[in-house]
Homo-oligomer: 196 residues x 2
DNA sequence: GTCTATACTTTGATAGAC
DNA sequence: GTCTATCAAAGTATAGAC
């Protein structure tokens, strides 16, 4: 792994746990084993540019992870349930440190850094589209698939907040059920309208 | 309003928008109009103690606000819908700055400050209990009311993240529907089991 | 209790030797 | 490209006059 990659990796890891303002460039240099000057060599625009790269890297990685979990199950609904269950397991295993890698940063920059806010918006939009496309492929119409995609990501993000604060996996399960049930109901309605 | 109250008020406001590490004590002193030294006069333990007070103040205020919205509607379900709708309106009116007042801080301190994490846990627990007690009063059994209370708060929190990042009210509506529908269904089941 | 000045640390960022 | 030394600013915290 080259130096640039190690820096981005360390930034993504630290920011996922401690947030944007809570993570210093010196800390990133130390954690990655890279000399401090290398950060500005690879990211001339400094912390903003590095953070954008870290967010995109985390965002892509997490999307692939979730897609793997969903597509790893024969049934779409089982795949969705596995997401909440898997997230709960990772939370417990990491003592509630490893959750959504971009959520804390997204909230921090939402009203303070428009450049980074746009990066988080693009990532969330990708996640929503990833989920919605699967719902649409399963038979839902475009709008309904999008709304439930948003509800799915919202439930995950909301449950991450509560689970980390309460140090309990309970929200992961309680928040997942209504969304999965809503998709079950929507698929049943779609099936009644036009069975494949 | 006395000095202490102004300080707590300013801290709660600033931290709600810019987070914990993103808000400085000097900024709080300036915003509140209080001299810097007064912060340490009223909060000898410094930033941690002040933040705990700000979180509790925000947490209580937001709970009262939401309870007012819910109880302001004749029907519980309309009250829940009004929460998501009202949150969407406030987001738009504030250019997506005013959302959940403790969410950003909760994520920031979850893995870095156990004292403050416990404060956010207590606040979220109060919110969950506030919602669950209303669901139970409407006819749901204790466990189901609690699970749906958690799902309700999770949906709100998750939608806040997405709405602020995307600068769109859409998540507020999309995330709210499955939870409200789940409560509709649960109430119908409870009614079938034992109509009042 | 109020307010100012200051100490100490850490931050993001830069310059320049190698 | 790598690495170190250093800057100016902002962070928390403290001391002490009034």
């Amino acid at each position: 792994m080259d130096t640039r990659e190690r820096i981005v990796n360390a930034a993504a890891d630290l920011m996922g746990r401690h947030g944007y303002t809570g993570t210093g460039l010196k800390q990133i240099a130390a954690e990655s084993g890279a000399p401090f000057g290398s950060i500005y060599h690879f990211f001339p625009d400094g912390k903003t540019e590095l953070t954008a790269a870290a967010l995109r890297w985390s965002g892509e990685g997490y999307q692939l992870l979730v897609e793997g979990v969903i597509d790893g199950e024969a049934d779409l609904l089982d795949g969705l349930r596995a997401c909440f269950e898997g997230a709960a397991e990772v939370l417990i295993a990491s003592d509630y440190a490893d959750a959504c890698p971009i959520e804390t940063v997204a909230l921090e920059v939402a009203s303070t850094d428009e450049t980074l806010r746009l990066v988080t918006a693009e990532i969330f939009a990708n996640w929503i589209e990833s989920a919605a496309s699967r719902f649409e492929a399963a038979g839902l119409d475009h709008d309904e698939a999008r709304h439930l995609g948003i509800a799915f990501i919202s439930a995950l993000e909301g449950a991450f907040v509560l689970s980390r604060a309460l140090k309990s996996p309970e929200p992961m399960y309680a928040a997942g059920r209504p969304v999965v049930d809503a998709i079950v109901a929507a698929l049943a309605r779609a099936d009644r309208r036009g069975p494949s």
